[in-house]
């Protein structure tokens, strides 16, 4: 069937995009949004089209409070020419998900497992990036 293509107005709402693009677009707008499964209520990280825990394809996006704890930590020893030593860690967010990141603005060797951290949104290589800062105990 060769129906003529109808010229229509583009919808005002942004075109539907996948979870990856939605995540990136929110970050680019300065808002950190993470998925939460509507069925089992677990956070979903990294973004996916279905909950890896229960399989539901129904999810919403929420803004994490950004507070968490260093789950593991390392210092990547790099020559100065390659940018020098750089921190790398896994952070367990209080809201129940884990992500790779780094703790900035501190000697990377001083970061310890269990340290309280809080997220910050920075720009890195022209793209937004979620990093963390140390946050005193009780945070």
């Amino acid at each position: 069937m060769n129906a003529p293509i109808q010229e229509t107005e583009l919808p005002a709402a942004p075109a539907a995009v996948g979870p990856d693009a939605h995540y990136a677009r929110s970050l680019a707008e300065g808002r950190w949004k993470v998925q939460r499964c509507n069925a089992c209520l677990r956070p979903i990280f990294f973004p996916r089209t279905a909950c890896p825990a229960c399989g539901s394809t129904e999810y919403s996006w929420f803004t994490p409070n950004g507070r968490g704890r260093v789950h593991s930590t390392t210092v990547m020893r790099r020559p100065q020419a390659a940018g020098g030593d750089l921190h790398l860690c896994l952070v367990d967010l209080d809201e129940g998900f884990r992500m790779m990141s780094r703790v900035d603005a501190v000697d990377p060797a001083k970061v310890a497992i269990g340290d309280r951290v809080v997220a910050a949104l920075i720009e890195h290589a022209g793209a937004p990036l979620v990093i963390f800062h140390l946050h005193g105990e009780g945070a």
């Binding site: 990294f46 593991s72 390392t74 210092v75 790779m100």
Partner: protein, 392 residues
């Protein structure tokens, strides 16, 4: 043991092994050393290349690697498995290969791999950049992890935190590997190495120093599988395959459910159950030691000791020559060689020991060998149980 496991147990055997281009293969291409290893393995099995009608191989760079390999070797395989799970691939390929033999789909399977990552002219920085395009990990790459070592460093730090594992205990793994390598003329690194040398070596990713990391060498390894009744006619004693199981839980270290527990805790017990043997029956362990933490994790996860006790298990020469369990008697990825993916060499060493042909490093009474492969960032785990005829 269920009927399927019973049928699988001992149905096939490894009858030929070969290696080539170990250490530094300068002047030879990857395909050339792979082919030399394959020819050696086929000859060792008492076969000709024309007898090979099954092929298992994979590559860290070429996506259709089985095709150029078959073309180069001049074979027309009726069974091909090119599953790519990282370094564990050549262990994980055993199960489908044995099934294909049992089904009569083919009669002789060649498993082969080669890499010239040390001497080759490939621009590794360019490859890393290309991988980020072809195989994106957008939730890790922006933090510039030095993979795979950064992932293993994170797992190590967590193991040390939870279980009090020390850097000196990790160093025991590297020193034991070196002591075994000193008994193996084919090993790449055979010089003296002490605990203090490991502790004082250049840090790469805290808490792992360069001596906690496997070597970067060239090398090709190959072996031949055939059904047990045909294996009896082979020139060398067959190494029977009693069980093989694989499992994967994650790809990225940030998605690993527990940094201190790998899926070897499932693949190991399943392979042992298939084989109808207990962990106490294992005379030799060949464990994929890309980093020192691997050996500690796998000793625990496979059941040689309880979780958290791996550090104590390797302490005081526990896995060195004369220790409580011979582990990685060829010198392992840490001192024998590690050409990108080490999996085939785990099998080669187990077969040498089961044949009683391992020279100065030969251990007495090796009847049951456990071979354990690991891939990517602790991501894929595959365990196989190999045994002599006496253990059937």
């Amino acid at each position: 043991m269920n009927a399927a496991s019973k049928a699988f147990r001992g149905a096939a055997a490894i009858t030929g092994i070969g290696s080539a281009g170990l250490g530094d293969a300068k002047g030879f291409s990857e395909m050339e050393i792979l082919s030399l290893a394959a020819q050696a393995a086929v000859a060792d099995a008492g076969l000709k290349m024309a007898d090979i009608d099954g092929l298992c191989t994979c590559s860290g760079s070429a996506t259709m690697w089985a095709l150029p390999v078959a073309e180069y070797l001049g074979i027309q395989p009726r069974f091909v498995d090119s599953t790519m799970l990282g370094g564990s691939s050549f262990i994980a390929q055993l199960l489908p290969a044995v099934h294909a033999l049992m089904a009569g789909d083919c009669t002789n399977v060649l498993v082969c791999y080669g890499s010239t990552q040390r001497s080759g002219s490939v621009d590794r920085a360019a490859v890393t950049k290309m991988r980020q395009v072809l195989d994106p990990q957008p939730y890790e790459t922006p933090y510039q992890p030095m993979q795979p070592i950064s992932a293993y460093a994170l797992a190590t730090a967590r193991h040390m935190h939870q279980y009090g594992t020390s850097r000196a205990q990790l160093a025991e793994v590297a020193v034991a590997a070196r002591q075994w390598a000193q008994l193996n003329p084919a090993a790449f690194s055979r010089g003296p190495l002490s605990i203090d040398d490991v502790l004082g070596a250049r840090m790469v990713c805290d808490p792992l120093s360069v001596r906690d990391c496997c070597l970067l060498t060239d090398g090709a390894g190959a072996f031949v599988l055939t059904l047990a009744d045909r294996a009896k006619d082979a020139p060398n004693p067959p190494a029977y395959i009693l069980g093989n199981a694989s499992e994967t839980w994650h790809r990225q270290i940030s998605s690993m459910p527990d940094l201190t527990v790998t899926s070897a805790s499932r693949s190991g017990p399943r392979a042992l159950a298939m084989a109808g043997v207990s962990i106490d029956d294992v005379d030799l362990a060949c464990l994929y030691d890309a980093f020192t933490i691997n050996v500690i994790l796998f000793l625990e996860d496979l059941g040689f000791c309880t979780k958290g006790e791996g550090g104590a298990f390797v302490q005081d020469g526990g896995i060195a020559p004369g220790g409580r369990l011979p582990v990685n008697t060829n010198g392992g990825g840490l001192s024998f060689g590690h050409p990108g993916m080490y999996g085939s060499f785990l099998v080669l060493e187990a077969v040498e020991q089961l044949r009683g042909a391992a020279g100065a490093r030969q251990q007495d009474g090796i009847e049951v060998a456990l071979v354990h492969g690991n891939g990517a960032t602790l991501s894929s785990q595959s365990t196989a149980i190999l045994a002599t005829e006496a253990a059937l």
